[in-house]
């Protein structure tokens, strides 16, 4: 198939996705900026000085990467889950399904939308963070690579959630009961060295732990986990979710009767 016939549908979906969240920027870009500001004020400026240092860093410097990562994860996920479920609900997903677009292009388009929102919100939160502390940048490449892979993983996860969702409740259950706990327990606010050995082992099953630590490594050069290990895990998560969501789309689960 000629490349152009793939690129036009792909870019159409991406542009539509990006303009969707930009159009409702008050709901998509502003809330993370506000809540992350609160995190920096409360945990960073007010409580942080009393905590002192974490693994040799000021507490606010330690949690800044985690907070940025948290907003990237939430927004990549939220973008795809609400957009794709919305398309199912309003039925305009049919516009895409009747067209000769391969499923991997549909997936790539929606995931790119989530990645763009993840990056954008990540940047906004980074700018917010600069008001509270000086950010370090240990390795630009690692930082960007982690952000990219993390937002892909959570865009895919959002896609899978949307595929299975049958009502609006279904798209808030997973973020509330699964995603949020995983984020809070994923080492955003603490080093897992603080945990008892048992909980350290349990934490190893939490994908977010690898993302937060790899990102922290990119910024501070400090991580609970070896950076190679973290990247291997990230690659495994990406590939697994990619295969699962493509399979679901190919079988028409949740979108074709």
């Amino acid at each position: 198939m000629p490349l152009q016939s793939l690129f036009i549908p792909f870019s159409t979906i991406v542009i539509k996705e990006v303009s969707r969240f930009m159009r409702i920027w008050v709901q998509t870009i502003v809330p993370p900026a506000i809540s992350m500001t609160l995190y920096f004020v409360i945990f960073g400026s007010l409580i942080g000085p009393r905590i002192g240092t974490m693994n040799g860093f000021d507490y606010i410097d330690y949690i800044a990467p985690g907070i940025i990562m948290m907003s990237i994860i939430n927004n990549a996920y939220a973008n795809v889950v609400s957009s794709f479920y919305g398309a199912k609900f309003q039925r305009h997903i049919e516009e895409i399904l009747v067209a000769p677009i391969p499923n991997f292009i549909i997936l790539a388009g929606y995931v790119t939308g989530g990645v763009v929102r993840g990056f954008l919100v990540g940047m906004v939160v980074t700018i917010v963070a600069l008001f509270f502390t000086d950010l370090h940048l240990h390795s630009f490449t690692i930082t960007i690579a982690v952000v990219l892979m993390t937002s892909i993983v959570f865009s895919l996860a959002g896609m899978i959630n949307a595929i299975f969702a049958n009502k609006f409740d279904d798209i808030s259950i997973i973020p509330t009961f699964v995603l949020t706990p995983l984020i809070y327990l994923g080492g955003v606010f603490y080093s897992i060295d603080l945990l008892p050995e048992f909980w350290q082992k349990v934490s190893a099953f939490n994908p977010i732990l690898y993302m937060v630590n790899a990102f922290r490594y990119g910024m501070l050069g400090e991580s609970d986990i070896s950076i190679t290990h973290a990247f291997i895990m990230l690659i495994i998560f990406t590939i697994t979710l990619l295969i699962v969501s493509l399979q679901l789309l190919n079988r028409g689960v949740g979108i074709k009767s």
Partner: protein
């Protein structure tokens, strides 16, 4: 090569409902084809399978020779679909909806823009192109879906009840638009509940009932099968009793309206002769229902009896 070729198509929905029980259908290129059937007959299911919105249970479909399983993209490129229910985003503008659809079909923005202007223009929506789709009236929404379906200039246009809820005047202009499109070579398949619509537009017709095709023929052939017609005769002056009508089945509906069933072999002149000789003056005469309607009900009746 037919435009559409359906072989032994079956569909059982996950809830075990058998919506299609083995359908065979051929639509020739350039045809104007009607798919008729009562509510729940399986029309939308058939259309959904053709354009990739519903998974079939078994059977085969070819669109201009392209199998929808093995040559999915080629088949899809040949089809434009106007669905029964509104299915565009409420938060986008008319133009945006049409242009995006062009993008999904791989059409360059520049080309899509020209076509959008052409089709939105023809359908009377160009002035409202920048308006959000949710602000359109029901009839405009249907026309927007027609424009959207034509953005890739498909060889075959499938319309699922395009004129449901559209007023008479608009319906006529939509018919003209479709006739024009058909004359320029687009194959058209439509479902409708307005039998008058099928009768005046379509060359060939299939009737589907309870997931089976009960009739598949040309409109002419079908109408020639009609062996009786029921007419109303409106009288100038009221009467209290009907004269003997040579044994024709008749009924006095009210003092100035007579209903008479006339078989094809019967001569309609005799009715006027009898009325004249009884000094009864007829001021108008009309069909009780559309001719197709009588036939349609007959066919469905037969189908139910054989079940």
């Amino acid at each position: 090569m037919p435009a559409l070729e359906i072989n032994n198509l079956k569909k059982i929905y996950p809830n075990k409902l058998e919506a299609l029980k083995g359908i065979d259908l051929n639509v020739n290129q350039g045809d104007f084809f009607a798919l008729l059937g009562p509510n729940g007959a399986g029309k939308s299911t058939t259309i959904g399978i053709i354009c990739g919105l519903v998974n079939k249970t078994s059977g085969a479909i070819k669109v201009f020779g392209h199998d929808i399983d093995s040559e999915n993209s080629a088949a899809k490129s040949c089809i434009g679909i106007v669905p029964q229910e509104i299915n565009f985003s409420q938060f986008e503008t008319c133009l945006g909806i049409v242009l995006n659809q062009g993008g999904y079909y791989g059409i360059k923005r520049r080309v899509a823009m020209k076509r959008a202007e052409k089709y939105l223009g023809k359908l009377g929506l160009w002035e409202r192109r920048n308006e959000y789709s949710r602000n359109l009236s029901g009839g405009m929404k249907r026309r927007l879906m027609i424009a959207r379906a034509l953005i890739h200039e498909p060889k075959m246009l499938i319309l699922d009840e395009p004129t449901a809820g559209v007023d008479v005047e608009l319906r006529r202009s939509m018919w003209d638009f479709l006739i024009d499109l058909n004359q320029q070579g687009t194959t058209i398949v439509l479902t409708t509940h307005y039998l008058e619509e099928a009768e005046s537009l379509c060359k060939n017709i299939a009737i589907i009932d309870q997931g089976k095709i009960v009739e598949d023929t040309s409109m002419k052939q079908l109408l020639s099968k009609l062996d009786k017609e029921t007419f109303f005769f409106d009288l100038v002056e009221p009467i209290t009793m009907l004269p003997d009508l040579n044994g024709l089945s008749s009924k006095l509906i009210d003092p100035t309206t007579v209903e008479i069933e006339i078989l094809r072999k019967d001569n309609i002149n005799q009715v006027f002769d009898i009325f004249s000789s009884n000094n009864i003056n007829v001021c108008s005469m009309r069909n009780k229902s559309s001719r197709l309607e009588e036939l349609f009900l007959d066919l469905l009746d037969n189908n139910n009896r054989t079940d």
